[in-house]
Amino acid sequence: MDKENLLQKVKEESEDQEIKDIIDVLGDMSLLNEDLLKSFEEKKFISFEPAVDYDQEDK
């Protein structure tokens, strides 16, 4: 059965650009969880490292 890629379908149906962007990163879900997480971090969707460069950014 030639099954439709439902994630792509969800992307096409969604009006939320962020949802579309997330699905782009998810791709076909073939990446390992760790790699997916890394991809989302690299693309700034999520972060596990708070910026504390106080002197340069906030002062």
């Binding site: 030639d2 379908k9 969800v10 879900m29 997480l37 999520i46 596990f48 708070p50 504390v52 106080y54």
Partner: protein, 787 residues
């Protein structure tokens, strides 16, 4: 389209197969004229082979292409040798190498397979694991036509990532909170609640304020200490008396430099000068007159011209002297008074320290134990040099008093003025502090009585706390900022998690829709195809669909098979299973998208069918695959080609089937034209020229062995008119007939054929099993037979 399987090496039973070497390009047409044919797979391809001839291995190669995987078994005897495959697809050559696998994935997901795996996946006989699970869950037997496994996998994969992310985010939060808690672990006064947010940190965090905070904290803590002392010694405070101001002995207003100077400048001349000024215009006259009087040369007064009698002139002089004395005396008296006052002024300055109330400093010190008085009680700074100057000035004044008519001069007057101003300023300042201190003391006593000091203490405590918090924030700014920013990260991540939830819900919704569509379409289609393939199947097919998206229960989607109200699933024959599976496969093909890009593979699709079903199904297969790019049918049914060529659909019939035959045990693929004899003739020509093959390598042995085997089988089958599955069956039949010519050579044929199978040529020359010399010996024997 796939044009050729150009080369297979060390895959399953294929030790070595070379398309171009085994399928000759040069042959002859019916009239015997040379003809060059480029043999390639066409739209329809039927590959016939007996069991064990390598059909399933070719299917495996296609599956490997479809999955872009390296899952291809090696030949059992060649485990240590590399594998190699070459496929010609359109204008490209796709190659499989031992280390790198397929060099290009252009045929990935381009195949659709109907084979034993498909049947096992979708039609269970009641012993498969998933059926048993469903049996347990539903209490009923069911035949699966679809399990939505891919979608379930996609959903499961998505769920796994979502859970993985949620756990990672929760762990991140926990880790950051633990670090944050550690910051407060050794601090009693400050708790987490005292730190408001990132903004408050950034406002406080200016390091330049640290010194100011520290100083302020020190002051506040001192104030608090005093307050606490005050609460303890309230009675002492009540008894504290006010400070006394300095009653200034110094009257400064009259201090006039010119005046002081004039005091020192008073002399007899100074007094006479005044009189002279009065008679300034009559100076000569007065001088002459006075001279005359003094010299007693005149009888008359030179001023009033009265007769001067003896002794009168003295009276005149006295009178004048009296005039002088009066003025002089007045001035002298004023000078003496001025000097006296100036001396008093100097003495007061000199003794000003004596006028400072002696008890003030003690009282002030006592007050400071309780009160916060920002100003200190001023201390008189009267140095020795200044005291010397004053003393010296007093001496000068006293000297003048003694010699009032002598001219004296003081150099210290300017300094005296400065000292006086300094002292007055000190007194003013002192009295000001006294006044303020007394005011503070009074207010303090009143506040203490009214309980206001308790409020002040509370306020102080709060201020001290805030200052400590500020210092803590400055010292721990990075750690604190990290925490608050980690909270923001966490919240942002939670937003991401919500988006994942949204995607997940949409995904489930779509799967649900797909499922409903699937159940609606496929149940009807499958039922229709079952009836078309096998109208005699007698069981009832109740469709059943359950899909619990929110549970882990597997999808239930299929038919319950019943006959007279009883489950019949376990009683299904292989043929019935195959009918159901094929019906479902046709239904899937109907719904397939991008048909023109897909290649359909059938591996023994009709093996278990009776003759009637075989014919109808073969035709159905061709009709249903017409819209697809290419079709490969692997079969062990020798009549399949015949069924196909008689298909009623003219479109299909005109598609020009190609019929390839896999010779049993030869592990090669031979193109079979309408006139097989032309290939045999071509091979026989090769046999006659075998002496010209110089090397006689293993590869030559395999290729010529495959040719020899093909010729024997073709000769026997075609020329004898038997179309049996096995050559042995043919030979047995020949033995029983009257064909004397063949009977006489039957043992020789068997001997050569046996050599092809057991001598090592079937797949590859086993080490030491045969040789090029032995093969050429058998080739010569075959040619001698002249079949």
């Amino acid at each position: 389209m796939i044009k050729k399987i150009s080369r297979i090496k060390n895959i399953g039973s294929f030790w070595l197969f070379d398309w171009d070497k085994i399928n000759p390009d040069n042959c002859r047409d019916r009239r015997g004229n040379p003809k060059r044919i480029q043999h390639e797979f066409k739209k329809y391809n039927i590959l016939f082979g007996e069991n064990g001839s390598g059909k399933t291995m070719l299917v495996s190669i296609f599956k490997s292409l479809n999955n872009n995987s390296k899952a291809l078994n090696k030949h059992w005897d060649k485990e240590n040798e590399d594998r190699e495959v070459q496929i010609e697809f359109n204008a490209s050559t796709i190659a499989f190498k031992e280390n790198s696998g397929w060099d290009q994935p252009i045929l990935r997901n381009r195949f659709i397979f109907f084979d034993r795996d498909f049947i096992n996946d979708y039609v269970h006989s009641g012993v498969a694991g998933r059926v048993t699970k469903h049996e347990q869950n539903t209490g009923k037997m069911i035949v699966y036509l679809g399990d939505f496994y891919d979608y379930q996998e996609q959903l499961k994969r998505f769920t796994l990532f979502r859970d993985y992310f949620s756990k990672a985010n929760a762990a991140f939060k926990k880790s950051e909170e633990q670090k944050y808690d550690l910051l407060f672990s050794n601090i009693i006064e400050i708790s987490k609640g005292d730190i408001e947010d990132e903004q408050s940190i950034l406002e406080t965090v200016n390091v330049e304020n640290r010194e100011e905070y520290e100083e302020s904290l020190e002051n506040k803590e001192e104030q608090l200490r005093k307050l606490e002392n005050a609460f303890k010694g309230q009675k002492k405070i009540e008894n504290l008396s006010s400070l006394e101001p300095i009653k200034s002995p110094i009257i400064y207003n009259w201090f006039n430099l010119s005046l002081v100077k004039s005091l020192f400048g008073f002399t007899i001349r100074d007094a006479a000068t005044g009189i002279v000024e009065k008679i300034q215009n009559k100076k000569d006259f007065i001088q002459k007159g006075t001279k005359l009087v003094e010299d007693q040369l005149l009888d008359n007064c030179p001023f009033c011209e009265q007769k001067i009698r003896n002794g009168d002139y003295l009276e005149i002089i006295e009178q004048y002297q009296k005039i002088f004395d009066k003025e002089f005396k007045n001035k002298q008296q004023r000078t003496e008074k001025g000097l006296e006052e100036y001396k008093t002024f100097l003495t007061n300055i000199s003794n000003v320290s004596l006028s400072i109330p002696g008890d003030n400093q003690r009282k002030f010190t006592e007050m400071n134990r309780y009160l916060t008085i920002e100003k200190e009680l001023p201390v008189l700074a009267f140095n020795q040099e200044e005291q010397n100057i004053i003393r010296e000035e007093i001496d000068i004044v006293q000297d003048k008093e003694k010699r009032i008519l002598s001219y004296l001069e003081s150099e210290n007057i300017e300094r005296i003025k400065q000292i006086a101003e300094k002292l007055l300023k000190f007194i003013d300042n002192y009295n000001c502090v006294v006044q303020e201190t007394n005011k503070i003391l009074g207010q303090y006593k009143r506040d203490l009585r009214k309980g206001k000091k308790q409020e002040e203490k509370e306020k102080l405590l709060q201020e001290i706390k805030q200052l400590k918090v500020n210092l803590f924030v400055i010292d721990r700014q990075k750690e604190l900022l990290r925490y608050f920013r980690s909270v923001k990260c966490y919240e942002k991540n939670q937003g991401f998690s919500s988006n994942l939830d949204e995607i997940f819900d949409a995904l489930r919704k779509d799967i649900n829709c797909q499922f409903k569509e699937f159940t609606k379409l496929y149940f009807e289609e499958t039922r229709r195809y079952i009836e078309e393939i096998s109208p005699v199947l007698r069981f009832e097919m109740k469709s059943k669909a359950q899909y619990h998206l929110r549970t882990t229960t597997p999808v239930v989607c299929g038919f319950e098979l019943q006959y007279k109200g009883k489950d019949r699933l376990t009683e299904l024959s292989e043929g019935e299973r195959q009918v159901i599976a094929l019906a479902f496969f046709f239904a899937l093909l109907d719904k397939e998208k991008n048909k023109s890009e897909k290649i359909v593979i059938f591996d023994d699709p009709i093996t278990s069918f009776d003759a009637g079903k075989r014919r109808s199904t073969a035709e159905l297969i061709q009709n249903k695959t017409y819209s697809f790019l290419q079709t490969f049918i692997f079969t062990c049914d020798p009549l399949f080609k015949r069924y196909c060529t008689k298909v009623k659909n003219s479109q299909v019939r005109n598609a020009k089937n190609q019929y390839y035959i896999l010779r049993s045990g030869s592990s090669s693929v031979h193109y079979v034209s309408k006139n097989r004899a032309t290939i045999c003739a071509s091979f026989k020509t090769d046999f006659r020229n075998v002496r010209n093959v110089p090397a006689g390598t293993d590869e030559d042995i395999v290729v010529y062995g495959q040719k020899l085997r093909f010729c024997i089988e073709t000769d026997v089958k075609e020329k004898l008119g038997y179309d049996e599955d096995s050559l042995n069956s043919v030979l047995n039949k020949v033995q029983k007939t009257d064909f004397d010519r063949f009977r006489s050579v039957i043992d020789k044929i068997r001997d050569i054929y046996s050599y092809c199978n057991t001598g090592g040529l079937a797949h590859y020359p086993r080490d030491g099993a045969t040789s090029w010399g032995e093969l050429t010996y058998y080739i010569k024997r075959y040619l001698v037979l002249n079949l």
